[in-house]
Amino acid sequence: MTTPPTGPHDERHDESEDIIADLSEYLDRGESPPLELLDRSPAHRIALESLLRFRSVARGLLQADADAEPSRDDSWVSRILTNIHIEARAGRSIPLASPTPSAEFSITEGAVRGLIRAAGDSVPGSLIGRCRLDGDVTVPGEPITVAVEASVPWGEPIPAAADHIREGIADALHRHTELTLAAIDVTVTDVNLSRDGQEPEQ
């Protein structure tokens, strides 16, 4: 039987920090978090999905980075982890059109940020860092700018990598939301060695 992880639970900490810590403890032990924990809130599942994607990509990137540059600053890892827990929060309620006035459809900002992260992370070798929805998402038709920071793979031209991330995010948002996208700004903050740890071509 799995024992729930214990750890510091300072009440001043944001609850989402505890979520990341709890989930990470299970993953570090090679265990799957129990359904009882995952079903506690949408934030738990959003955080777990993000963590699994992050760990999958980061494992290769960290090894490659370590081989190439032992003294490399790995603050991007903590930045991404920090952003995952921020984005797991529900946030604002984003309206969806409903067929009758007596029905109200919406999607949470946390769900949309999770969607954006998943879309960006699905581009091979890329990892989404900070993710922001600029504009009043609670008002239909308001122009919204999506701003993401990303780590992209070495070897691919940065503009092309940014375009792939932008296309993935746009497709996902058009599929699941009715946001009026003014722009999707991709800021590349890191370039990583290939996932399999190969040296970049000279």
Binding site: L38, P42, R45, E49, R53, F105, A111, A118, H176, T177
Partner: protein, 118 residues
Amino acid sequence: MTTPELSEQLTGLVRSIDGVVQVYDARPTALAAAADLVATVIGQPAGEPIAVTNTGGGISVAVSVAISDASPAAEVCRRILEAISGHLGSNADGTTVDRVKIQVSRISSGQAGGDAGG
């Protein structure tokens, strides 16, 4: 039919809808905690996640779900609305629907595995 019975029926109904992978507690957190505490004290089961309230003008329903990436969020919301409206409309006690709120709280990319399906 009592409100808890209706909530239980609707929860089961929504869980069975294509595209819904989980149903979350749509009741306000403090209210849900208080209600579940009272239920425990008096030996009743804890409340169902779908919030059903009688507003006087009819029944108000609030639903919070995780959905799969396979269908657009708005489409899954429409399926849920149709199922709830159909269920309430078929009730013999003449229940009228005042308001239905459906919130998508998560879109599952299917990578975490182990979605409980409700």
